[in-house]
């Protein structure tokens, strides 16, 4: 067997207390397409950034073509023939295609010759791999698929023999993705090695020769693609996590509290993130939305909660419309009994520089009980905060402490206490246990169940499938902005995993 194109031995990388990669071993055969699959946060991108010299491993060895190689900067990686197509394109948007391609590989101090050289080289690459693109087009005027092609050309222009693609289809339409796969096949036939990072099982099955699965910073398995199944990979990816099952009784759903009809949301670039989504949440039930991160769940709850403007559709709260396409005011929605625990507690749900008690009124700071006319009623605010600290067992027990000094779990409890104690009719919760320690997870889950049992409507978004399964009375699966399936609370993990990965099945068709 030929020498491995790339061999990673014992790679470790930590960011502060977070161990992003633990003791990773990986071997990639030359001339193959090697898939690396795993959930978000499994450490795939970190590993590839180490390979590309963007980060330094804390320990471990990289061998390229059998030779131990020190890769300290992207330059070192480029020099040994490694090219990378980043998830977020590293392109200068108001530059032409040619300018982007030569950036950093100009050769000479004057551009004239390097541009004409690049032009002819581009023509060759175009012929060889079917990578057509107008060299003089300006990047921001190109569709996303072509922008990605420019990224691939950039790598090839630098003589890449090994091409790493990080979540390349995240921004592509299915047709563009198919085109990309044909290009990757062609690259393989020309003897290039391709590393494909993705969380989509369909892509792995469609195109790779070998697949490695990562989970929570470790490499859990490597399989020949034609010797494995989607089910096996899904299980490896998600793992058998020990989850504290929450005791809960039968749900007793009442009337519809929150109703979403044909909601469509676009992001700032105009890409459709939520595509014609409809569902209802009743009093006394938890509706969970499962899905791999980036499939529109975030935009969905932001639109409902009034922090992001929707393009079209209607949302009603207790039968009254919310102006989601206009100026929905989160403050007004709170008055109407809609509470929102946002996904990003560091930048949205909390002001980390505030004292704990100041955060415990964020969004409710205009409630009369916290005010004396235009003044804050400091006494009332602090007493209220102390009560919540007791009730939610927030530690340390100090309402004057800066919020940044609380642990993730306690920060999340601050947000939950604030939102739940206002006694809302509807609670929207995004990633309630992300970055939260095990003890707090159980506490938070019990609180959410208690909300349900009090007859509140709860809409839960989480990328943790187990969390969705153990809490929800009704599970919706989102993929590419659409609700692709609705399941009961006893739906199997594998079945949901397939839906989340965008694998069509008969029942999955909406």
């Amino acid at each position: 067997m030929a020498e491995a194109a790339i061999e990673l031995i014992g790679i470790n990388k930590s960011f502060g207390a977070v161990r992003a990669n633990r003791d990773i071993n990986l071997e990639i055969a030359p001339g193959t397409i090697h898939g690396i699959i795993g959930e978000n946060g499994a450490g795939k991108s970190t590993l590839m950034s180490i390979l590309y010299g963007f980060y330094q491993a804390d320990s471990g060895e990289i061998r390229v073509g059998g030779k131990p190689t020190a890769i300290r900067t992207p330059n070192d990686a480029i020099a040994v023939g490694i090219g990378m197509v980043h998830q977020h394109f590293m392109l200068v948007e108001n530059f032409s295609v040619l300018e982007n391609i030569i950036l950093g590989a100009e050769g000479e101090a004057l551009l004239n010759t390097s541009i004409s050289k690049a032009r002819s080289e581009l023509r060759r690459l175009e012929r060889e791999y079917g990578l057509e693109v107008d060299p003089d087009a300006v990047i921001e005027e190109l569709p996303v698929g072509l922008q990605q092609r420019v990224e691939i050309l950039k790598a090839l222009y630098r003589g890449a023999e090994i091409l790493i693609l990080d979540e390349p289809t995240g921004v592509l339409t299915p047709a563009e993705a198919d085109h990309l796969f044909r290009i990757l096949q062609q690259l393989k036939e020309q003897g290039k090695t391709v590393v494909l990072i993705t969380h989509k099982l369909r892509e792995i099955m469609a195109i790779t020769d070998t697949v490695s699965v990562m989970r929570q910073g470790t490499m859990v398995a490597t399989r020949k693609t034609n010797e494995t199944t989607v089910e096996e990979l899904a299980e490896l990816m998600v793992g058998r996590r020990v989850l504290l099952r929450v005791e809960k009784g039968e749900a007793q759903p009442g009337g519809v509290k929150l109703s979403v009809k044909n909601l469509t949301v676009k992001d700032s670039r105009g890409v459709t993130m939520v595509d014609n989504v409809s569902f209802d949440v009743r009093a006394g039930e938890i509706v969970g939305i499962a899905g791999v991160a980036g499939n529109g769940q975030s935009e969905l709850i932001e639109a409902i909660a009034g922090t992001r403007r929707a393009v079209s559709g209607t949302v009603t709260l207790d039968g009254q419309p919310i102006d989601v396409t206009g100026i929905a005011d989160p403050g007004e929605l709170r008055d109407r009994g809609l509470a929102h625990v946002p996904e990003d507690r560091h930048h949205v749900g909390l002001v980390l520089a505030f004292e704990e008690n100041e955060n415990s009124i964020l969004g409710y700071h205009d409630k009369p009980e916290y005010l004396n006319g235009p003044f804050l009623n400091i006494e009332a605010i602090r007493n209220d905060a102390r009560e919540k600290i007791q009730k939610y067992d927030i530690r340390p027990n100090d309402c004057r402490l800066k919020t940044a000094n609380f642990s993730g779990g306690n920060q999340q409890k601050i947000v939950l206490a604030r939102e739940i104690e206002q006694d809302p009719g509807v609670l929207i919760v995004g990633q309630p246990t992300r970055g939260v320690d095990v003890g707090a997870i159980e506490f938070i889950h019990k609180r959410l169940i208690a909300m349900r049992d009090q007859g509140k409507a709860v809409l839960l978004i989480s990328v943790e499938l187990d969390e969705i399964r153990s809490l929800s009375d009704c599970i919706l699966v989102m993929f590419a902005g659409r609700v692709v399936g609705e399941r009961g609370p006893d739906a199997g993990e594998g079945e949901l995993g397939l839906l989340m990965a965008g694998v069509e099945s008969k029942e999955a068709a909406e």
Binding site: G16, A17, V18, P330, G349, G363
Partner: protein, 379 residues
């Protein structure tokens, strides 16, 4: 970038680091003094003597400090909302117009205690309006507030020159200034306050706007930390996303904050106009609007820090004037250098010494400081 940062105790964060930054600024200023061939320690001595040596000196020091309290508060209020109001100079200058109109209209009919409140309102209103335009352009059209407020400084300067030369100047006068105000627009001096302690103050212009400045410092503290509006300003200043989540209107909070800031800068005009010169003349602001930036940075945007910082700059102004007598090589422009150095070290290079100090703390008492992960964000 995965160096673990030790978390510093509060006193180091709010006391030690600012003092180190300040010390470095003064050390470099000392080097400049040496460069012009004088002894920096002797200079410092004369400076302090000149600022505090006798009642008159103290009164002058506090007179200058009054200006800087107003402008420092103006900059600080905007900072709390994440805005950089570099236009205090222009807001104060144009507010002189408001003061002038009130004084010219009422000085012959009203006593000072009736004119003063009207003048306060007029100066605040004009300053606020001058800040309103850049604020509106930021809130509604996304114009960069730093650039627009700089431009408005120049526009204010041109407008005031025009008004003083062509409009407000009394007929038959050559000097570009208004007529002298009658006693109805002259603020009482505060000299008696110092004379109670047995000091002689003579004609120093310290006047009751100093007390107004202290009241404003207190009110700013109340506004920022004790009112709903201040809460909203701070929320927006720390995290516009959290503000949006909390239902705070971005346009409203920007516009209100800038108007408050402009009003505070505007009130600075009262001190030299009604308290000292008793007329409006060219360039009466003399850079106080910019000193406000240094004062706010040094005082960490807290009134309890701003008042001492303003007094320190008052010392530099008054002591610097005395220094120029004794050391001809050093004029009052030395203050401008110190001001720049303070802005550089307490502002732009604020965090230069932090990693070293954190390492020091971590090595001295590793148990006492928690080690947290810092990911390029100064929480």
């Amino acid at each position: 970038m995965s160096t673990p940062y030790a978390k510093l105790p509060r006193w180091a964060d709010y006391g030690l680091i600012p003092i180190i930054n300040l010390a470095v600024a003064f050390f470099v200023a000392g080097l400049v003094v040496m460069l012009v061939g004088e002894n920096p320690l002797r200079a410092a001595e004369i400076l302090v003597q000149g600022a505090f040596g006798n009642g008159q000196n103290i009164a002058y020091t506090l007179f200058y400090a009054t200006n800087f309290i107003f402008t420092g508060l103006a900059v600080a209020v905007a900072f709390h909302c994440g805005l950089f109001n570099i236009g205090g100079e222009g807001q104060a200058y144009i507010a002189g117009l408001g003061v002038a109109l009130v004084c010219l209209a009422f000085d012959s009919v009203l006593p000072w205690w009736a004119t003063f409140p009207l003048a306060i309102l007029a100066s605040a209103a004009v300053g606020a309006l001058w800040a309103l335009i850049p604020a509106y352009l930021l809130a509604k059209r996304g114009s960069h507030i730093v650039i627009t407020t700089i431009m408005f400084n120049f526009i204010a300067a041109s407008a005031m020159v025009y008004l003083l030369v062509d409009v407000l100047k009394p007929a038959g006068s050559m000097a570009p200034q208004t007529r002298d105000f009658l006693p109805g627009a002259q603020l009482p001096k505060l000299g008696w306050l110092l004379e109670m302690f047995g000091m002689t103050v003579r004609s120093a212009p310290l006047n009751i706007s100093f007390l107004l400045a202290l009241v404003m410092a207190f009110l700013v503290w109340v506004l920022i930390w004790r009112t709903k509006l201040g809460y909203e300003m701070r929320t927006y200043g720390f995290s516009p996303k959290a503000a949006r989540y909390a239902g705070i209107s971005e346009a409203r909070i920007i516009i209100i904050t800038m108007m408050v800031s402009g009003a505070l800068a505007g009130m600075m005009a009262l001190n030299p106009i009604m308290g000292d010169q008793h007329r409006v003349q060219l360039d009466f602001v003399t850079g106080a609007g910019f000193v406000g930036i240094a004062v706010a940075l040094m005082g960490r945007s807290h009134p309890a820090g701003i008042v001492p910082a303003a007094i320190l700059f008052g010392v530099l102004y008054q002591g610097g004037a005395e220094l120029a007598f004794d050391m001809p090589a050093i004029s009052r422009d030395m203050i401008v250098i110190i001001q720049g150095l303070v802005i550089l070290f307490a502002g732009a290079l604020e965090h230069m010494f932090r990693p070293a100090i954190q390492t020091l703390f971590a090595s001295v008492s590793p148990g006492s400081v928690g080690v947290t992960v810092v990911k390029g964000e100064g929480a």
